[in-house]
Amino acid sequence: MNVSVIFVSMEINDGVFNQLAHLARLRFSEAEKASIQHDLQRMVAFVEKLNELDTTGVDPILHMSNSVNVWREDVVEGSVSREAALANAPVQDEAFFKVPKVIKK
């Protein structure tokens, strides 16, 4: 028996868009938002093509490697120096990474 499935594309409305932007820790200007929201709507509709395939009972692939439990000996080795670890920090004081004070009284 052929079953036809009518799939209504998920709508990326303002509420969904704003929630996604928050989850992704991104912020958009109004102009950027209009363009990206439009593209996102089309991209979501595009990937929904997958719903045409019957995947009932198909085991999802979680890892591409066939290896299981790749062990190695635990060897004590040096790591990076403090100086090297701090070298790429936007703000640091040679001992710590510095960030804005965000803890409020």
């Binding site: 950027e32 990937v47 804005p100």
Partner: protein, 480 residues
Amino acid sequence: MFSFTGIKDYHNALLNGQTTCVEAVHYYLNGIAAQQHLNAFIEVYKEEALQRAAMLDAALPGQQSLQPLYGVVIGIKDVISYQDHGLTAASGILRNFVSLYNATAVQRLLDAGAIIIGRQNCDEFAMGSANENSAYGIVRNAADPERVPGGSSGGSAVAVQGNMCMLSLGSDTGGSVRQPADFCGIIGLKPSYGRVSRYGLIAYASSFDQIGIFGLHLNDVALALEVIAGEDAFDSTVSTAPVPAYSEQLQTQPEKPYRIAYFKQALEHPGLDPAIKEQTEAFIETLTAAGHLVQAVDFDLLDYVVPAYYVLTTAEASSNLSRYDGVKYGYRSPVATDDLTDFYKQNRSEGFGAEVKRRIMLGTFVLSSGYYDAYFTKAQQVRRLLTQKTTAIFGEFDAIISPTVPAPAFKIGEKSDPIEIFLADIYTVFANLTGIPGISLPLFTHPSGMPFGIQVMTSQMNEVTLLSLSKTFMQIAAKD
């Protein structure tokens, strides 16, 4: 006058005193200087490369045989770590970042005697198909500077195409080595997933990413793979399978004809350029005439590969790129805030480019609560169907061939529709979805004057057959 006809010839010339490493480096530095308008390099290590070349020249007298990549001049895509050198993924968010260590692949190049000449332009975080998404500007195709070089490893392809280095390392998540190789008329190899360590490669989509190699000569590509492939304590996903001597095995061709499949739907695809279709079909006839068995197989999943690819890679990207928060490294906004979430948002929004944000948003969507199963799990199931189908095909065939890209290099700025751009990945994403190796070979010329290639894919970890078959193809097409 220096000329490069392959590493073997170069090494003979070094041993016979006909050339020097310094001469080679000067030749490539001149090539870079004369073609700055192509914007292939983000940074050139001029003094360093010359110093290393001089050191290698000084060590030359008395040597009977050379290390595999002795004096070989190589460029690396700006997503691969080279200690004490800049590393930006062509993104504003990493503008002043300096690598603390070498990627395993880079370490092995250096250990084999290579000279790293610079880091190459690419699409931001390797996301793109035209090299138009770089914080360092677009890259131009050396065959026609009004056209794109492909992406995301566009700079790496153009550097080899335009004689600015002997080999390049790129990265291929959905075709980012094979597609620019096709557009630029050179060889581009994506090894099997797990053949080359990803340690030190900036992550885009970890279950897809693989370091790949660009070159002009198949033997050189095979040799470079031999050097960089294999087990690595820093990457638990890399295969522990022994690395065959690819470059030696290439010299002995099997006697028996190859069994080669192509997807019926791929050559009948409405998006395929007629001239590419025609020349690919003609090549299939040539292969058949040469005694190989070439057969069409039914592949009704073709239209699902690009959607599955974009669900899975954007999901992995949204997760991988969450690390860029402006705290320990990377861009930090000058805008003051006392709210932590606001702080992250400010740094990320100012640091990332538009395409990266688009993909993070799609990835966040497919992973978000309520949509996860319908999109992400669904795509993982489709990936399973694809690998099952692939295993079945390789039970009967040695290789699958297809065009690499459905159309030749397009004009800069000509394409902006994301879906249209995604669809151009239709022939390349399959290898990344299934973890198999693929190569683009520069066999053809389009009526537009641009080069284009054929893609060959073999079963997982079977680079030996892939490279042997490539050699056969190049010989049949009289390109080797």
